[in-house]
């Protein structure tokens, strides 16, 4: 019984990590927009290339933040959460044994 429970925990953690990385869609679209506009700006005013590029890189790094939140949740779900969830499950079983 415990094996099945641990298996469900591991599987659900993996699925959750996959779902969390859907967060990558947002920054992808946003950074694509930013780069497209930067290309337009450079095309219109080639002499402003260096200023546009540095602003673009800064903006892209800022836009990446929300994607990184998803990534951190995903990494936590893969590397940290299974261990702590299994620990919680085991201590809950111990606790229920002492109650009964």
């Amino acid at each position: 019984m415990l094996e099945i429970a641990i298996g469900i925990i591991l599987g659900c953690c993996a699925i959750g990590a996959g779902i969390a990385l859907i967060a990558g869609i947002g920054p992808g679209i946003g950074e694509g927009q930013a780069v497209a506009k930067a290309c337009e700006a450079v095309g219109r005013q080639p002499e402003s290339r260096s200023a546009v590029t540095s602003t673009l890189i800064l903006g892209c790094a800022l836009a990446e933040t929300t994607g990184l939140y998803g990534l951190i949740i995903g990494i936590l779900l893969i590397f940290v959460a299974p261990g702590s969830f299994v620990g919680i499950l085991k201590s809950a079983i111990e606790w229920s044994k002492t109650i009964l």
């Binding site: 800064l58 990184l68 951190i72």
Partner: protein, 285 residues
């Protein structure tokens, strides 16, 4: 003559101060490295705990990230002392020119982003830039990069948050509290969340970038090793053991993940610090 000899000795000592902490950190890592695991697997773990100090409430772990960041702080101190000792009004050495270039660059950066009023912030910004960039770059030496540990970066972000709050409080406590209830009182919870989110987002951004780079390069290196075992394992003797496919690609990835991403995040952290502090100061008049 005597003077020159003394200065040579001082130079050597300072160079030692630059290199020795990093060498000691590497030696500590090698000495305390755990035994090689027998099974063939990939291991991605947080900072290694070197030792713990007994404290009244809880044990205080001293991790690789802390030790490495202390080593980097000592190295930066060594670089600063080495570049600036024996400076003259008319520069006659290359290292004084280098020091002047660094100070000039940071001053220009602070002036263009924060304005003339905040020139006192230049050393702080330079410190954050140097510490953050060199922390990320220290992974090139094989050390555990302190910036891939959330605790270190969160510490810096909390420092910045305290600075921001300090400058906001300069406009008076009443104005600070009133700021949360603008434009209408209903927004108070949102404003408080936005205030608390500042250090969290700053630290997560930096930590997430560096750590994801570490994870991805570890996974790719492991995958390449398995692939070369599979494809070239039939070679006789020791030739079959050498992972030939690991040559090349990890270095290119490291160029992006370690060097570009680390320096970029250091710059962004410093930029955000400057912007937040500059906008926190209440307007006069």
């Amino acid at each position: 003559m005597e003077n020159k000899k003394n200065s040579r000795l001082l130079d050597a000592l300072l160079l030692l101060l630059i290199i020795l902490p990093l060498v000691l950190a590497m030696a500590l890592k090698i000495c305390t490295a755990p035994e090689e695991p027998l099974e063939d697997g990939v291991i991605i773990s947080g900072a290694q705990v070197y030792f713990t100090i007994a404290m009244p409430l809880q044990e205080w772990p001293i991790t690789a990230a802390q030790v490495n960041s202390w080593a980097i702080i000592l190295s930066i101190l060594g670089v600063c002392l080495y570049l600036t000792h024996g400076i003259r009004v008319i520069p006659d050495s290359k290292r004084q020119l280098a020091a002047e270039w660094i100070v000039d660059t940071v001053n220009k950066l602070v002036k263009s982003n924060m304005g003339e009023k905040f020139m006192g912030f230049a050393p702080f910004v330079a410190g954050i830039l140097a510490l953050s960039a060199l922390s990320s770059l220290s992974s090139l030496l094989g050390l555990f990069a302190p910036t891939s540990d959330l605790n270190i970066v969160l510490g810096w972000a909390i420092l910045v948050f305290i600075l921001i709050t300090h400058y906001k409080l300069k406009g008076g406590l009443w104005n600070y509290i009133k700021g949360f209830f603008s434009p209408i009182p209903v927004f108070a919870p949102l404003n408080i969340i936005g205030e608390v989110a500042t250090p969290i987002s700053m630290s997560f951004r930096h930590y997430g970038n560096v750590m994801s780079g570490m994870v991805i390069s570890t996974l790719i290196a492991y995958a390449l090793r398995s692939l070369s075992n599979m494809l070239l394992g039939w070679l006789p003797g020791i030739l079959g053991q050498i992972p030939f496919l690991q040559v090349g690609l990890p270095a290119v990835l490291s160029l992006y993940f370690d060097i570009f991403s680390g320096c970029m995040q250091a710059f962004i952290f410093a930029m955000l610090t400057m912007m937040f502090v500059a906008t926190a100061v209440p307007e006069e008049g």
